[in-house]
Symmetry: C2
Subunit: 159 residues, 2 copies
């Protein structure tokens, strides 16, 4: 496991993900909200990601299709709020478990060159939260955030 | 308090609202999803409701403005899912407490002429959930659902 910290307390409906990126906040926010950049960081590296819908703004919707050797896994949701440079509130549904929706709030704190990422995901039930954890979410999320950090660093260097 | 049951357990991030309407499911769903009908039931009767945005479909957004003797109170969110005849998943934010968002899932069960309404609202924190309860949510919600039942009965009678 990498630099990502997960707070997953028994019997709760939420999980909290915290990580400090060695990249400035503007670059992290841009990497998260430019639909053309989503395939370069979203989810584990072993999957190819296609942005079928990527209207990343308050009131917009998203649908990302991922495929790899073990199959296709699709996800969708809506953006309650996308506020540069520090806040995204969205819904999230894995289409393999239809009807199970979570609400994710991401906040980016400017630490002066580096960025503190904090995401709170709340689920419709404790069981849903536990199923997400059991699915290997931590490893996939950590890998995605590792790639997000690399991409944001590239953006900041103008690469 | 009326016929609405609230399940609010200490220390949890959710609250559950259950009620049986003496009206058929199709009429309840229509009353909930026709923007022109929202002002007739949404919230306590003492407020006038204006639908500033009422794109009540999967991927749509809503903003309802309410006003009364004690001031103006505005609310907005997005629809993750609107599936006739039985399911709505949406976000909800009271603009008087910006940034505090909840995810609401409403399911309607057909009991053959009457309808079981069940809403699960999950909040970003236990504190947010408790603040919503302390705001008088139960009374306001019960009054809104009372009006929704009356409206759905009218629709079913073709009135």
């Amino acid at each position: 496991m990498g630099k990502t910290e997960f707070v997953i307390e028994p019997g709760r409906q939420d999980l909290v993900t915290v990580r400090t990126f060695d990249a400035p906040r503007e670059a992290v926010f841009r990497a998260m909200t430019d639909p053309g950049l989503i395939p370069r960081w979203w989810g584990p590296a072993k999957y190819e990601v296609r942005v079928e819908e990527g209207d990343i703004r308050t009131g917009g919707a998203w649908r990302f299709l991922t495929s790899g050797e073990d199959g296709e896994f699709n996800f969708h949701g809506v953006y309650h709020e996308v506020s540069a440079p520090d806040r995204i509130v969205q819904t999230f549904e894995f289409e393999g478990a239809p009807g199970h929706v979570c609400l994710e709030t991401v906040e980016l704190e400017d630490l002066g060159g580096s960025t503190r990422y904090r995401a709170v995901s709340v689920f419709q039930s404790v069981e849903d939260r536990d199923a997400m954890v059991a699915s290997g979410m931590e490893e996939g999320s950590d890998e995605g955030l590792e790639r997000l950090e690399e991409l944001a660093s590239e953006i900041a260097r103008g690469a």
